[in-house]
Symmetry: C2
Subunit: 598 residues, 2 copies
């Protein structure tokens, strides 16, 4: 199993040197988030994830969760680790002080989330889902609901879920059937079956707070007739304690490709007592409030997977001796050279490295936008941040998880046949990461959100704030010779992006299927270009540091060299995607469904 | 679990209409391989794989092989299925009549191999390895060895293995340590440990014949000091029967990402009795004789995986109702449209279909070249066939397995979250297929074989026979308007290929690392172009049939439309690879090994 080391130096580079989090936090009034505090928290998170969370990753996969008569047991060590997680105050980090939170910035929590995900994808999902539940109640719940559920969710003694999917509907939630009938006391009785409920049942916490979408009889059909409910596993007594069992049960858990240590549950509601959150029939709107944040969380999993796989592959590539370098023996005293001398091994490692580090920068940038959206008092700044976030979130989610999956496949490949063997831990990363391309909206759902809803839906207006930022950066560096290898491609690919967007828009007016036909290639192009921008920005910071003089020359040189690799060996892929978009959807729509196979 | 149906119509299209196997077999003197016989065998193989082999695929994955005190038990049903396989005479199909074979063409066996692989990757590996062992003994063994081992291997009552890898050496076999010491009776005593031995121990057959590479003390170091041995699990008595146990044992089996129903063994040789095959120190040469055939077998697994995943995804896409088509409701009576109406679902399905069908054509073509290499009496024809085979085998192996893996990932994606659940069988295809990118030489090993050893090593001569064939095809269709959408891109991409090859050659003269840096992108470009040629050929056949008039209009239309999809939506990817090759290896080699991480 690869030993996980939190990439502290790189996180600091991104947060402090690239994105000046100190200034960002002070401006937003996060007085507690001083540089020292940020450093201390990241160091502690590094220690905790390296020493407590990572060591139960492989055993957790091997053992998996077990279901017996409705009870789910998590793998050995998970309960204890979760206890330590709660005792360490980790769940409270970015939570509201009113409910026992530490009130630190969301972006600091995001940085730490990556460490948890790299160390143990399955474990990291438990708190991730609680966060979704508490955020929903905080934003839309009544005062009573907040007082009943928030403190325990914030503390972590209770955990949460999001119950959306049903057997016949995942993407298309308008088709849901779970019904909620009003009781005399103002509560509701929920009846129906939800599937794919991550952390739906387990032995980590004293109570589980399900956030459930359901239909109140008589509501409009489709997505406009969906309401949102809190359904606790155990009812709450009048004094707020855990009371008797609610009519919620776990019918079974799924056997999956990966994330085996996270229980994916069938949850049956058999007249379970639930409490309406927000207004009747506005349930999906309440859910969508948090879609960006949840999707950003999944995007982080892509980065986390690339990083974890990179670490494993790098250690192996330095250690494993096999064949001699084509350009001459590098390890004359050994029977062969370390495989890191071979160009293609480096190609795979640098692909992982450039996606992990580039993706980390993108995520950290987006997390700062979330901070601004949360607390900025400047409406203009807030609007710009939210517009950028709306544009870039689907790109980050789909692009970084698809590339994360590719990176874990490279990790297996660097190990050769050994990569296929469970013992080494590399194949688990590939199995665990595939889910990130599926949940919180599949890759094509992100692509349609980007192209149809956001870009074409806003007639391109959504592009402006981020587009202006990129243009400004290019203009600022127009006279910097050392930056031209990065600036020129961004301008060229960026120009093509604009033309491509216009063309797709025109085609879509005639035939809306052209949007779907273009969507994923369009998103991937956007992803390669977006990451190019962040790599150029990082190269700029590194070049400036090198020009100023630094005792970390190798670190900054590596940044510039990795940026160069990205531009020379990764960005060119965007061209193929552009040609696919250009070629349109006719060849995809030409076949009758019955003529796909004979 | 997706129900497997052998793609009989398409196999016939490829074998008969595209590659005129009737004429091919008659010319080579395969009198028994009449069209009727070919049809009958394929139909029987379809029935057998659909009814006997496919049904134990998922259960085999779930149960896996078990190891107890050196004995390996295959999953339920494998032993019975293998028995039926032997009783049906399947192992004997393309084997030499002198040893009990049916003497049918290799290419017919290859067509059938795809069915076995699609139905059950793990099962198909058992006979695959026996075939490697018998082919080695037939080509290099003594008359006594042939009489002792061939009849049982051909019949299938004994199975075989290839024992190459050791813990410290996989790709770099020159480092192997297993030693073979000469005994007084002319036999050898083998001592050492081999790993990753597929089918190294199991309960399917009466004996297991290991083909082992080892070093005779005093031999030259490296790959020139390797000899080849037969080491049976049970010694053979004087009258050829199974005798006492040899000192060969299975130390453990691996826990793997996939192919769980095939035992991947650690095999210990503790002074085991072995028999030299061929000459001392010529072991690797003997092994390499069969490298092309073995690699072609793995390439077939890529096609088989794409096909199996396509079938599962297609059935689901027609059945699963979710969302409405962007271009208008298609299923007004249902609550939503079948997801096959959505362009991106079609993009994924057509990617799978175009890789499966295009790959099938490439494999069938290569298998005919193997036929020619085996039995043609025309030296010129034989030489051309072997040259084409040498060029195209690494392309087929690496490109079709990488694309096969991609196709299985699309298969999971079409299912959404359900694709991640084991029950549906889609994720197993992805897990099983990853091994094909690793064994028999990883993707980069194929790429180096193609670019370094074969193309640059022959100063481009190896390109001529296949290059001439493609040029001839383009010229023949230069005046056919309907073919220009296919011919023009082949000429354009082909021209760029030539220039790219020359440039890489020039760069490599100055810096050999440029070969490794270009290799995988070069191979992928070659793969996309090669498949484009086969799609153009298939489109031509289909267009001719449509022009002549046919009662299978939909089938031939689908061929033309799928060809169009391939050219418009898959082939463009080659451009990104070309740019990566063009950009060279400097950015990959610039980082010191210690500077990859800080």
């Amino acid at each position: 199993m690869p030993e996980y080391k939190a990439p502290i130096r790189d996180i600091k580079f991104v947060m402090q040197e690239l994105l000046d989090c100190d200034n960002h936090y002070q401006k937003l009034g996060y007085e507690d988030a001083s540089l020292d505090m940020v450093d201390a928290i990241i160091s502690e998170a590094a220690k905790f994830t390296e020493q407590v969370i990572a060591p139960i990753n492989q055993s957790g996969d091997e053992q998996g969760c077990t279901w017996t008569n409705g009870e789910v047991t998590t793998p050995d060590g998970f309960k204890e680790a979760y206890q330590q997680y709660v005792e360490g105050g980790w769940p409270t980090l970015a939570q509201n002080v009113d409910f026992g939170g530490q009130g630190l910035p969301h972006s600091l929590n995001t940085a730490i989330t990556e460490l948890f995900s790299s160390a143990n994808h399955s474990f990291a999902m438990y708190p991730g889902l609680s966060h979704g539940a508490s955020a929903t109640i905080e934003a839309h719940g009544s005062e009573l609901q907040k007082s009943q559920f928030m403190p325990q969710l914030v503390e972590g003694s209770w955990t949460g879920t999001m119950c959306l999917t049903e057997p016949h509907c995942g993407t298309d939630l308008g088709m849901l059937r779970t019904k909620a009938e009003l009781n005399d006391d103002g509560s509701y009785s929920l009846t129906g079956t939800k599937i794919f409920i991550s952390a739906g049942e387990h032995d980590l916490s004293d109570n589980i707070v399900h956030i459930v979408i359901a239909r109140i009889p008589g509501s409009p059909e489709g997505s406009k007739g969906i309401s949102l409910f809190i359904v606790p596993k155990f009812n709450i007594t009048d004094d707020g304690a855990v009371g008797d069992r609610n009519a919620v049960s776990c019918g079974s858990i799924e056997h999956k490709m990966g994330i085996n240590a996270n229980a994916t549950c069938v949850i049956n509601f058999d007249g379970a007592k639930g409490y309406l959150i927000g207004e009747v029939n506005r349930g999906l709107n309440c859910m969508f409030t948090f879609m960006n944040v949840a999707r950003l969380g999944v995007a982080t999993e892509g980065v986390a997977a690339a990083e974890a796989s990179f670490q494993g592959a790098l250690a192996y590539a330095k250690d494993r001796l096999q064949m001699r370098s084509l350009s001459g023996v590098k390890n004359p005293d050994g029977p062969a050279d370390a495989i890191i001398v071979h160009p293609d091994v480096r190609r795979m490692l640098l692909t992982q490295k450039s996606i992990a580090e580039g993706g980390r920068a993108l995520i950290a940038y987006l997390a700062q936008l979330v901070d601004i959206g949360h607390v900025s008092t400047c409406e203009e700044e807030k609007a710009a941040a939210e517009t950028k976030l709306a544009l870039l979130t689907p790109i980050a989610k789909a692009f970084l998880t698809e590339l994360g999956l590719e990176c874990t496949s490279h990790g297996v490949q660097v190990f050769g046949g050994h990569g296929f063997i469970k013992e080494w831990g590399m194949e688990q990363l590939m199995r665990d990461t595939k889910i990130s391309c599926l949940y919180e909206g599949t890759t094509v759902i992100q692509a349609l959100d980007l192209l149809a809803r956001k870009i074409l839906g806003s007639k391109g207006k959504i592009l402006k704030p981020f587009g202006s930022e990129v243009t400004k950066f290019c203009l600022e560096n127009a006279d910097d010779d050392a930056m031209q290898e990065f600036i020129q491609p961004i301008m060229s690919f960026g120009g093509d992006w604009q033309k491509m967007t216009e063309k797709v828009g025109e085609k879509a007016m005639k035939n809306p299927d052209e949007i779907g036909a273009a969507s994923v290639d369009y998103l991937m192009y956007s992803g390669y270009l977006t990451l190019a921008y962040f790599w150029a920005k990082m190269a700029k910071v590194a070049q400036d540091k090198l020009a100023q003089g630094t005792d970390e020359e190798a670190f900054y040189q590596a940044k510039v060299k990795t940026a160069r690799f990205y531009f020379e060996r990764i960005l060119p892929r965007a061209k193929g995607h552009a040609d696919c978009v250009e070629n349109g959807g006719e060849s995809m729509m030409a076949l009758d469904a019955d003529d796909f196979s004979f």
